[in-house]
Amino acid sequence: MIRNFVLAGLAAAAFVFGPTAAEAGRDLDAIKARGTIRCGVQGPSNPGFGVPNAQGVWGGFNVEVCRAIAITIFNDPSKVEFVPVTTQSRFPALTNGEVDVLSNNTTWTLTRDTGVNRFNFPAIIFYDGQAIMVSRRLNVTSARGLNGATVCVQPGTTTELNLADFFRQNNMTFRPVVIEALDELRRAYDQGRCDVFTNDFAALAAQRTLLSNPRDHVILPERISKEPLGPTIRQGDEELTNIVAWTVFALIDAEEFGITQANVDQIAGSATDPRIRRLLGVEPGMGTAIGAANDQYARTIIKAFGNYGEMFERHLGVNTPLGLERGQNNIWTKGGLLYAPPAR
């Protein structure tokens, strides 16, 4: 009788506390079984990178990266569930399986790749660096003239650490104002609570568009850190790693080969370059090798969103409110850092 009671208690406890997580390495199987991939994006919104429109449909650079991954897996860009996460909630959300992939400008660092977090960064999609924004009224031209400044910064990011390191290296002191919600933090800076607003350059440019007078604020030239950003997944699923990596590489290759949204069908029909024929699935085999839905995954992605450069210019480039130059985020043949391994 006692044993029965213990068993019943155990069953109840198991019911209450839920089962332990599935074994590692099954992420892609779980995504396929579910029929959608859950993509964590910066919430409530991040101009240029991920913004829901009036109908609640997400758009933006990071959002299209997730849709491209969905094309590779399902041959269907709509099979994505977007989950807004904050800088604080993103890692628990990924660890616990609430999202399958983070596409929210997460920096690839050693501890995130290897430490207790154990994530995987299959490819770099954006080369960023931490920057510092100040009001023009302060007449500051260099980040080295900021001794004693009050700095608005988000918690729980590498940003907070880089900031402390930078001021320490230059024997300067600062006073942090740390607020998690980016909107609240920006409001505090806008109202003059801080002299300085720091974040990754691209995110800072995005936040600047939301200030009351964007033109009154200048982003200083120094980059105080390296911030390679890319889609982040849990460690232990090689198949999902391959899919994410080669989806990003397809976007980069397409730009390198001059394949665009407009000409992709024409090039697929007439190309003689074996590299292009393999990428677009004219010669079969590459899609199957990475575990894609079919060999034409790259062609479908480019048809839907264009190549890397087209995506960049549409959401982040000089003709958008963010107004970012390509800079390091250009193809290696044009002086940038984007370089994809060969598809063969």
């Binding site: 800088t87 207790v116 918690p155 650490l161 600062f174 006073r175 002299d195 460690q235």
Partner: protein, 392 residues
């Protein structure tokens, strides 16, 4: 011959015996609680192992590498996570202690005012209480923070008085520069407080015995203020004042009340005071009307009726719900994450994100809040025991 037959002892079944039944039920309950705790722990361990996480406290000794905006003890990015947690804890205690004192003073005043015979005053207070009680605290915090941030910048700071400035960087006031010569002053202050306490007890006894004694207040004030002053005078007034001066981006010197601290304090005090006002009003109303009438019949003036007759009886009703308001205020201080006051949860969040030790970090702050709450409860229960009706 008749003998008294002892009736055969009826054997009650153990489930009909209330003592044994109670014991059995309690045992079952304890076993169940232990099972739940065990299941939660083993589930957590299994999940952590499955995700390759290791439980441990080694991170507390590692350098934190982030900065904290304000604290009662100095903190540099090279200090450890453990020290960061202590800085956060002290900030929590600072807001809780100051908040509880101010909320009590304001709450009691509001509660008494709401019972005022002046309808304007009573209505104003009741309007305040209803508005503040019925809107979310988080919203109020955002409001106060936004209002404080609309103050002019440090270079256009509003002068409040000699050496005092108000800007969107907070309030700056002159402060005594700390040095070791101030220790005798602190001890003199402590001695003054203890002396004042002993003197007031002695005077009270004498008043009860003879009906005549010198007034307490001037004597106590002389002890509390005079002794530290004497300690300063003996040393020839060695203390120096630091006065805030605008330098570069901000003021240096003096002490600062940051906008985050002020916004949080305003929000917590005004919110909690509204609840305390209702508790105080309820306590006063609960005192039987005859007590007022009897006191008036003795010819006591209204303020003394309140202080000597009504409040002591009302306290018995007021103390228990007041305790939970104190606990609420302490726990609500964690809403500071939203406006950036670096209290315990705020610092813990950053630590959690930098180290990935979610379970350990949450265990720490859960235990700390539990300890603070239990200590507050214990103190208030002791106080409640003192004011409760003693049955004779």
């Amino acid at each position: 011959m008749s003998t008294i037959e002892t009736p055969p002892a009826t054997k009650t079944a153990f489930w009909n015996d209330p003592v044994k039944r109670g014991l059995a039920l309690q045992t079952v309950l304890i076993v169940f609680v232990l099972l739940v705790v065990w299941a939660a722990w083993s589930n957590m361990s299994a999940n952590m192992v499955a995700r390759g996480l290791i439980f441990g406290w080694d991170y507390l000794g590692r350098p934190a590498n982030f900065a904290i905006g304000e604290g009662l003890i100095p903190f540099a990015p090279t200090d450890s996570y453990g020290r960061a947690v202590i800085v956060g804890l002290l900030n929590t205690l600072r807001i809780a202690v100051v908040g509880i004192i101010l909320a009590t003073l304001l709450g009691v005043a509001l509660g008494v005012m709401r019972l005022s015979s002046n309808p304007l005053l009573a209505r104003l207070v009741s309007g305040y209480v209803e508005v503040v009680r019925n809107t979310p605290l988080l919203l109020q915090l955002f409001l106060w923070y936004a209002i404080i941030n609309t103050l002019p910048g440090p270079r256009q700071a509003l002068p409040l008085g000699p050496g005092m400035f108000l800007s969107n960087r907070g309030m700056k006031v002159p402060w005594v520069e700390w040095s070791d010569v101030l220790w005798p002053v602190i001890w003199a202050l402590v001695a003054g407080i203890i002396g004042a306490f002993i003197a007031s007890r002695a005077l009270q006894r004498r008043r009860e015995a003879t009906g005549d004694a010198p007034p307490t207040l001037p004597i106590a004030a002389a002890l509390i203020i005079g002794l530290p002053f004497l300690a300063l005078a003996v040393q020839g007034f060695p203390a120096t004042l630091t006065v805030p001066v605008l330098q570069g981006f901000n003021f240096t010197g003096g002490i600062e009340l940051s906008p985050e601290f002020v916004a949080l304090l305003l929000g917590l005090v005004l919110y909690t005071a509204a609840f305390i006002a209702e508790i105080v009003r309820g306590g006063i109303v609960s005192v039987y009307k005859g007590q007022w009438e009897a006191a008036r019949a003795l010819g006591l003036p209204a303020p003394r009726i309140m202080r000597l007759v009504i409040l002591p009886q009302a306290l018995r009703v007021i103390i228990p719900p007041l305790t939970s308001q104190y606990l609420n205020l302490t726990k609500n201080s964690s809403l500071a994450v939203a406006i950036g006051y670096p209290e315990l949860v705020h610092v813990s969040n950053t630590t959690m994100n930098q180290t990935g030790r979610a379970v350990e970090v949450i265990l720490v702050f859960a235990l700390v809040y539990l300890t603070i709450s239990l200590l507050t409860s214990a103190f208030m229960n002791w106080y409640n025991g003192r004011v409760a009706i003693r049955e004779r």
